[in-house]
């Protein structure tokens, strides 16, 4: 036991060292070996949290400048747009006639930018990040990663198409919406999920144009792809 305990800091140091090495070699996008120093910034992660009375059903329509999605789910749910193109607009309506609280949070990076809530029958909450117009056309292809388990798990995900990859972070249960993969040409998408807290096994579904095309599970990491 003593040896095991003593070894933990060494392992942590080794992990940190690996991280530093990878970062210095261009990991995490810290450099671009083809154009050093010219890696463009990307938009900060925009997330939506739909919270309140647990289990309250809702329908949410979410739009960025290119695409929109309609999602039916229950509280709580985190939603992240991968390859997001702001501004974003959201409309969430309860799907139940009761006084349960539903709150919509729009988060940009680390900050809650907007909070709106309702306790009305089939109450509607709306939000935006940036000045918006009408909802964009429905996403096509419509790519959604549903991370259903383990509940409360914080995870990182690298979501990729054939042209670019993006790392996002969210808490289960969550839906990752992939906007315009491969420039809107569809093609192959994949994602690698890594657990942070290790609360249980991942259970992840990939829906492509409304069809469940793959499901996967895993303890600390899970990989899912289509086709």
């Amino acid at each position: 036991m003593y040896l095991k305990a003593k070894s933990i800091p060494r392992r942590a140091l080794a992990a940190l060292l690996c991280g530093l090495l990878m970062a210095s070699c261009g990991g995490f996008g810290s450099t671009d070996t083809t154009r050093p120093g010219s890696t463009p910034n990307m938009n900060a992660q925009t997330s939506f949290r739909i919270v309140g009375q647990i289990g309250t059903p809702f329908s949410a329509t979410i739009s960025d400048a290119r695409s929109s999605w309609t999602i039916q789910g229950v509280v709580p749910l985190s939603i992240v747009i991968v390859n997001n193109q702001p501004p974003v607009r959201v409309s969430v309506n309860k799907l139940v006639s009761n006084n349960a609280l539903i709150s919509l949070e729009i988060i940009n990076a680390f900050t809650v930018k907007q909070l709106a809530s309702s306790t009305d029958n089939f109450g509607v909450t709306v939000g935006n990040f940036g000045k918006v117009a009408n909802f964009a056309p429905a996403a096509f292809p419509d790519v959604r990663f549903f991370v259903n388990s383990p509940n409360e798990e914080l995870f990182d995900a690298l979501v990729e198409d054939t042209q670019h990859g993006e790392i996002v972070e969210a808490r289960v249960p969550a839906v990752l919406l992939f906007d315009s993969p491969a420039g809107g040409n569809g093609a192959r998408v994949d994602a690698t999920f890594t657990a942070v807290q290790f609360l249980g096994r991942f259970a992840i579904d990939l829906l492509y144009n409304g069809v469940l095309v793959d499901s996967t599970s895993g303890t600390t990491t899970a990989i899912i792809k289509y086709p």
Partner: protein, 779 residues
């Protein structure tokens, strides 16, 4: 994309994951648990009460964005923000346990940072915060959170709001040139001088020497905080913020005679219940299968609080519990509306390896102890008697009968009859009077239920006790646009079996519905782009069955819609079958590029459309056909309007309903329902509604006097008492004042007028400011 990129990514992602995990271990993750309260800690449950006074006649909505509550043993309210004595109680950050093994829990979730300390914020989550609607909690408290903290005496409390956006406020329309009404304004703290600014703090001394948290009490200590937003003047222009200067005070507890060594707290905003739980387990209650008691709003699956038995109960077969719940005050006049006052709850006891024990429709009154241990008439003991039973998991899938696809976001309530009654209540009825929702679950994106738990928390339906053969459960499935579908769940040789299901232990459920189609159209020459919400509700009620969002593209005036609705087999509240539906549609407008909840277009209504007939039994696939629904028009830009006034003789749960008269025989279609400021509060009887400037009918609804439920009758009572429903008591027609059109100054050399944002293009307002005007109308 390169081959093997995913594996490399997994390796790369492991490092930040480990770093974040390290941070997580540094946080305080000590959640409240009565059963496992850590040594030297006591549990405090924080509740809020709103105090907005006469502001209800000026503002339609006042909300505060609450991040946390802090307690400090020192009474000096000028101490530093960084004083080491501060203890933080954050919003419910984790995913609560629906049932089964429970801690002190509110049934709410507001997302989460890494820990309850709310200091470690991760990407994509922000700081957890809850939006409190102060108008909705004026005399019935809202539980904020409960947490185990160091067992000290705390003498002051601090309210921590979001410093960037401390709240959101919707003013009513003014009676003159002012900022636009019925849109969302951000709240802002006052500018504090001198420079550098002194941080604004919202603190109060806890009266009576503070709250004393003793680890030996084995009871949750309530802390009720009254919040006055200190709201400033309404906006004079539409791009302002609205100043707030909140203050708080603590509504002190009193105590009654201790019960089983536990302190009995009483509070003017909370009702206190005491009950007994008995078990047949040989070893009594045990830490390995903590016994929880959950309170739900009567007749619903809305959890208000879940609490576990204290660890002093371990090893015992009989143990008392005490619970404080938000409750309205008593009404003493038996002929007065709302009598007997209070707030009704359903209670359910649940644990691993034990049966459910339930009590329906318990009336809980503020500042009063409700004793559930014995029948007040017969004197017989009435414990929550749980029996040792195997608990097993229960799962399945919900299907749309029209296309065999899974139904997402369906709600599945497992109803258990309250067996105190002479005859076993029928839990398949609507309403299921005398039955309690003992467990609830939801379906995922492909219709599978329940949603998963994790290694520490069981999923809903993972610990379902096998029912007695003589008392099956009823699983009631609901989803927006589908028939309410009850399915009996029975004991089949130790497994759970659903009626008409093909497998043991799983439940395959088909939900019926119809599909209606029609068009929505803009009027007054308006064209898209616009989004339109279409609602279908049971005729002459405010019970919405489904809502659908459609988009009208640019340059277009009309688009078709389709919406799922229940069919004529659907059993409504009260037992009648659905025959007709009312429809209404409203646009979702933008103000200066931001969507608003209140529309500026008139609302199109259609009353009494025939509901679709059920799918013929055994019909070939596809079995569902489209039913012609109403064409909803016109929705014309008329601008915002608002109406405010007072009702006569308000009780505590009154509402005012806004309706619009249709062209179908002059029938009214209900559009919205708003609460009335309750009796006993400043501004009692005030209501306020935002709506487009149009003609409406306004109706006052009130709960008629009721027989006292639960405790005033001997056991067993002859029949369970129905949860009361409001009745219309007064009504009148009102036409809301149209908006004021204020021309903008003409441009001149060196002066270019700023364009005025408007909710929509009111005819004749081109280039002008459109300012909505309020209307006063009292009953």
């Amino acid at each position: 994309m390169k081959d093997l990129s995913s594996r490399w990514a997994a390796a790369i992602l492991l490092v930040p994951a480990l770093l974040i995990l390290l941070l997580a271990f540094m946080g305080d993750s000590d959640r409240a648990s009565a059963a496992k309260a850590p040594a030297n800690k006591g549990i405090v449950a924080v509740a809020f009460v709103g105090s907005i006074g006469d502001a209800a006649a000026t503002f339609q909505r006042i909300t505060l964005n609450v991040v946390s509550i802090r307690l400090n043993p020192k009474p000096d309210t000028s101490i530093s923000d960084f004083d080491p004595g501060w203890v933080t109680i954050s919003v419910p950050a984790g995913v609560g346990k629906s049932f089964g093994i429970g801690e002190v829990n509110t049934g709410s979730n507001f997302g989460g940072s890494f820990s309850n300390s709310n200091n470690n914020v991760v990407l994509g989550e922000g700081r957890s915060e809850i939006q409190i609607d102060l108008g909705a909690i004026q005399n019935v408290a809202q539980i904020f959170n409960a947490q185990a903290i160091a067992a000290k005496t705390y003498q002051q409390v601090e309210l921590v709001l979001d410093t960037v956006t401390p709240g959101d406020i919707v003013p009513l329309c003014a009676g003159a040139i002012a900022g636009e009404g019925c849109i969302d304004y951000k709240a802002k703290f006052p500018q504090v001088t001198p420079t550098p600014a002194i941080p604004l703090t919202i603190r109060a001394v806890i009266p009576g020497g503070g709250i004393v948290l003793s680890k030996s009490q084995h009871v949750v200590t309530p802390l009720v905080i009254q919040i006055d937003p200190g709201i400033g003047a309404p906006p004079t222009v539409s791009n302002q913020t609205i100043q707030i200067n909140p203050s708080i005070s603590v509504i002190p507890n009193s105590t009654s005679t201790p019960i089983s060594g536990m302190t009995v707290f009483l509070n003017p905003s909370l009702g206190t219940i005491v009950g007994t739980i008995t078990t047949t387990a040989n070893s009594g209650f045990a830490s390995g299968r903590p016994q929880s008691i959950t309170a739900l709003n009567a007749g619903t699956n809305t959890i208000v609080e879940t609490q576990t038995l204290p660890n002093s109960c371990y090893g015992k077969k009989t143990c008392d519990f005490i619970m404080q719940l938000p409750a309205a005050p008593a009404i003493t006049d038996s002929s007065a509306p709302g009598y007997p006052g209070g707030t009704n709850y359903d209670l359910v006891a649940s644990a691993k390896a034990a049966s459910y024990a339930v009590r329906s429709n318990v009336n809980v009154v503020a500042n009063t102890l409700t004793d559930l241990r014995t029948d007040p008439v017969s004197g017989l003991a009435t414990p929550f008697a749980v029996v040792s039973k195997s608990t097993i998991s229960f799962s399945g899938k919900v299907f749309d009968i029209c296309n065999a696809a899974g139904v997402p976001a369906a709600t599945l309530n497992l109803l258990v009859p309250d067996t105190r009654f002479a005859s076993t209540p029928d839990c398949s009825a609507n309403p299921p009077t005398g039955c309690v929702v003992a467990a609830t679950a939801s379906s995922n994106e492909v219709g599978n239920f329940p949603l998963p738990g994790n290694g520490n928390q069981k999923a809903p339906f993972d610990l379902v006790p096998v029912p007695d053969v003589s008392t099956p459960y009823e699983l009631v499935i609901t989803a927006g646009g589908f028939d309410r579908t009850p399915v009996q769940v029975t004991n089949n040789s130790g497994a759970l079996k659903c009626a008409n299901s093909i497998k043991k232990g799983t439940c395959q459920i088909n939900l019926n519905h119809g599909i209606m189609t029609g068009t929505v159209s803009l009027g007054g020459g308006g064209t898209g782009p616009l989004s339109v919400l279409i609602a279908a509700e049971d005729s002459a009620t405010n019970n919405i069955e489904n809502l659908q969002l459609v988009n009208i593209p640019a340059g277009v005036t009309s688009v078709p819609y389709t919406i799922n609705v229940p069919d004529t087999d659907d059993v409504l509240y009260g037992g009648a079958k659905l025959s007709n539906l009312d429809f209404f549609s409203s646009t979702q407008d933008l103000f200066n590029g931001a969507p608003q909840a209140a529309t500026g277009h008139s609302i199109a209504v259609f009353a009494n459309a025939n509901a679709p007939t059920p799918v013929p039994s055994g019909a070939p696939s596809p079995v569902c056909t489209l039913t012609a629904g109403p064409d909803l028009n016109p929705m014309t830009c008329v601008g915002h309007g608002s109406v405010t006034g007072t009702v006569t003789n308000p009780a505590t749960t009154d509402t005012v309903v806004l309706s619009k008269t249709s062209n179908q025989g002059g029938l009214d279609v209900q559009l919205a329902s708003v609460p009335v400021v309750p009796n006993g509060s400043a501004g009692a009887g005030t209501y306020s509604i935002c709506a487009p400037a149009d003609s409406y009918v306004v109706t006052h609804y009130q709960v008629p006097p009721q027989p006292t439920p639960d405790t005033a009758t001997p056991t067993p009572t002859p029949t369970p008492i129905v949860v009361p429903t409001p009745q219309a008591v007064a009504s009148f027609s009102v036409t809301l004042n149209p908006p004021l059109i204020v021309p903008t100054p003409a441009p001149s050399p060196g002066f270019t007028p700023t364009p005025c944002p408007n909710i929509c293009n009111v005819p004749g307002s081109s280039g002008a400011c459109v300012i909505c005007q309020g209307t006063s109308a009292s009953f």
